[in-house]
Subunit: 308 residues, 4 copies
């Protein structure tokens, strides 16, 4: 397939590379030109650069005289306003597509924006899905991401084989925007569970228990959660967790802060009370303000315990 790819950051770059490995041809764009050049240099026969979004949408790239229609465009950008500017407006994707093209936004943004942009796409006759990911940069590199996909059944089925080149778990969450809904709901719960696990583990150890014994009890009891049995924040409990390597790698606290912030804003829009989610957001904001936003999000355990 011939696929446009916009956004070659920490996540986008390895995702694009996996598409290349799967045999697709890519036309790519990023505001940081050297990211584009590096990828083109690595795969000169399969990847070409486009000078801007308008040109990319038209199927054009720097190397060709004639534009060729794209089968799909994938976007992976940081914020809702980037999604808007990429898709909407005179210089955006929607205004410049010439032929049928599946649109896949893999960015993590608010459900409302996702739905507005998808609506605009459908009004112009294009199918679109939101497909935010979980799995971090590790999953992006390994091609083991989970994609939470919002869109109609036909669009989902069309997107699935493309996404499978980048992930192993492709979940249909319902209509447009529901990919984002699933992501923020899941990640808000994750933030809450992680801090809860940090509190429970630290409390138990402070009261005299061995951390591995305590984790063993919790993991076979009603406190069991992904944060306790896969990603335990207490050092020494799980060898493969970031807590075993100084909280490096993994999913950064600042990224978690962003996701919980999306969740509480979405909750406000539908008048849902989320006291635990709101507190998690504030605790991560405090942790980030103390200079630790770059650590894995499980490092928040360090903020709550006694000074060692």
């Amino acid at each position: 397939m011939r696929i446009g790819f916009i956004g070659l950051g920490n996540m986008g770059l390895p995702m694009a590379s996996n598409l290349v490995k799967a045999g697709h041809h890519l036309v790519v764009f990023d505001v940081v030109e050297k990211l584009v050049q590096a990828l083109v240099a690595q795969h000169p026969t399969q990847v070409s650069a486009s000078p801007n979004i308008k040109s990319l949408a038209q199927g054009g790239d720097s190397s060709s005289q004639t534009n060729q229609a794209l089968d799909a465009i994938i976007t992976m950008v940081p914020e809702p306003q980037h999604v808007r500017s990429v898709y909407l407006g005179d210089a955006g994707v929607l205004a410049n597509l010439a032929a049928a093209c599946l649109l896949i936004d893999a960015s993590t943004i608010d459900p409302q924006t996702a739905r507005e942009v998808a609506q605009a796409a459908y009004e112009k006759g294009y199918s679109m899905v939101d497909a935010p990911v979980s799995g971090g940069t590790g999953g992006a590199q390994a091609g083991t991401l989970t994609f939470m996909v919002g869109g109609d059944e036909a669009a989902f089925e069309q997107a699935k084989p493309i996404l499978q080149a980048m992930g192993k778990n492709i979940v249909h969450c319902g209509g447009n925007g529901n990919g984002q809904v699933a992501k923020v709901a899941n990640n808000m719960l994750l933030a809450i569970s992680m801090i809860g696990t940090a509190e429970a583990m630290s409390l138990g150890v402070s009261l005299g228990m061995d951390p591995k014994v305590l984790a063993g009890v919790i993991n076979t009891s009603s406190g069991r959660c992904w944060s306790s049995d896969v990603y335990n924040p207490y050092p020494g409990v799980i060898d493969t967790a970031p807590s075993a390597r100084g909280y490096t790698g993994g999913f950064g606290a600042d990224l978690m802060l962003k996701d919980v912030g999306l969740a509480t804003a979405a909750a406000k829009s539908v008048k849902q009370a989320v006291p635990m989610g709101a507190l998690a957001q504030q605790l991560y904001q405090t942790f980030s303000n103390q200079g630790h936003g770059g650590l894995d999000f499980s490092a928040i355990i360090q903020m709550l315990g006694k000074a060692k």
Copy 2:
């Protein structure tokens, strides 16, 4: 074996019945006499009543002229002060035991009291374990409770076969008091996860997702927890959960409130910050104050959502 059993409440009564089923002889006491009489009437050959704790500790019961030594005494009472008054003082167990006897306190109390009473027992030469349970009245009746046991290895091994008549999961948590530590740490995390799951499920549904689809995504992602995959608070997701039957049965909100209160008090004693645990306690207190303390603890989902 000949076992003393003190405390025949909602939990104690079915636990005692399971000991009878396993063939043990019981000498029982409760301040509510009719509970005692009912059990004796049901099992006249295996259960006898003792008029008070002193007499029970001496092995005596109403029907016999001579006291026979007890192999073990199990206690299941509501509050730390009850544990103290049962074991300590002139009329208590410790002052009136005549021969070697294993002491098992299955009450849920604070670790500090558990350790003090165990210390008093050891000073008099008696082995003691704290063995709080999880599994609720359902587990007590079915004999499928989990016992979290604190005490030395020898005492644990001695207690294990007795506890197996009442539960299926007997976990050694370390020295005395650690059973209580494991329980409060686990249940604090459970309270947090439950409210977090309630928030995440309600948020996702309010934003347009199908609850079963959302639960499916969470249960295969990083938000997964016992509260989401076994005991989901959103009605209609899990047929066997209390949410499927109007939040009746299960583990009462007021019992959860008690346990989280033990956890935050214990946290204060060791200077551990537990912001999520403290908020969970306050939310359950609010829920209880609104008259819902008798509902299953997952019913707290009703407090946070929009008025229907």
Copy 3:
């Protein structure tokens, strides 16, 4: 003066009436036509209606053939998007003003939007201030509102005499947007203090103190705050507070919810942690969801205490 007034809701209507009383001529617009007609009918010689915002900005009204320039335009609308649509766009105020005109937005919105709209006004050569109010409908009717004004010194001095017809306290808070900043910061603190006062009063009374004695101690001690000494939420302490009349009148819980929501969103934008503010928002959301958003915001004391 000849003043345009847009937005004749619960607050706008009495504010406009006070401008009339002060002798000003008004050209008014509201999307609810009957509000406009009622005001015109009441003051036929001083108030005239404009069919839309474009016409109002041009100074026109239904009754005159020729447009007359307005000295000032005051807007009082509910949400940021309304402020944007009133001022910006082809049919908005800025595009249709013909002569120098002072722009006063008295709406309560986020500082960011206030600054963007003011910037647009200045780029077109018009002075603008944001001037959100406190004092509620009572203050609007009595003409005793407080205006928190953001804008340059000259614009503030120009706005002051106009605002004095509607309020008694006109405070210059600094540059554009700072009126909104002062308002959200103050109201977030108010929400926190109110819930804190509710907790402290209820706690003290539950522990055996007379509410008036307790309020007396607090009001002469370090817990003293406006919520305790002017607006005490405990019934019977202050005769003039909403707590003395079933929490009717006053400042609605839903309005407080809106303001705290603006505060936490603004905090997120500048990476300030506001754990207390966020919790206050969630508690007001919960209170509103239980159907009490129309009560005075001090009624939240009812949510936290024991069921009576």
Copy 4:
């Protein structure tokens, strides 16, 4: 008068000194002997030491052969268990008093213990008041403390002239224990207001306001509180506040942590929800765990803002 004084710590010592200045004779005891010796050395004619509490209660001191009855005994000790051990038991005050003596406990403890000890005193025929203070070490030295007094009218009137030698504000809060109730209720509200003020000030300044202007607006609006208008945590707003001198002096964060901990424990005992109070406790615990418990409690503003 001849007054016994037990507890010569940071607060007790300057309080005792003020009693000496007022002309009273003191018999003093503290477990730290050098504190006792220093005070005796300073005032050899007015102060004498007692070797233990029993002897002090009997009116005896090291220098005299015969015991003289005490008019009053004042205690100022850290924790409930100290109050119990000073007053109760065979070696305590109550068991060893020979004549009528007014008992004044100025310690800050839980209301429950205060009531139990007062009850024990009354059963032996002695009048007792609880009289916790606010005003800190500065107020203790200057003799400007506030005493919140719980006890019957007669005991209050008897205690008043004695307390006036150490404070300027002597408030009768009702029956025994109510002094403690008033103190914990006030200080919980103070903790909440302080963090709220810290959040509001930091938020406003981050959004572009001048801190003094913002404080000015708040202090004339509904956000006004003691923490904003007397003790503002934002540096540079109030010259006499600890924030103006690096958060030294004042009321230590660890002392505030203790008081809020008493408040939330008391709230649990009467089933009052105190979500804001509980969060304040956790934030102070976190702040203390980060090594800042010795700073003035207004320093918590540093924990929430952006890293500078």
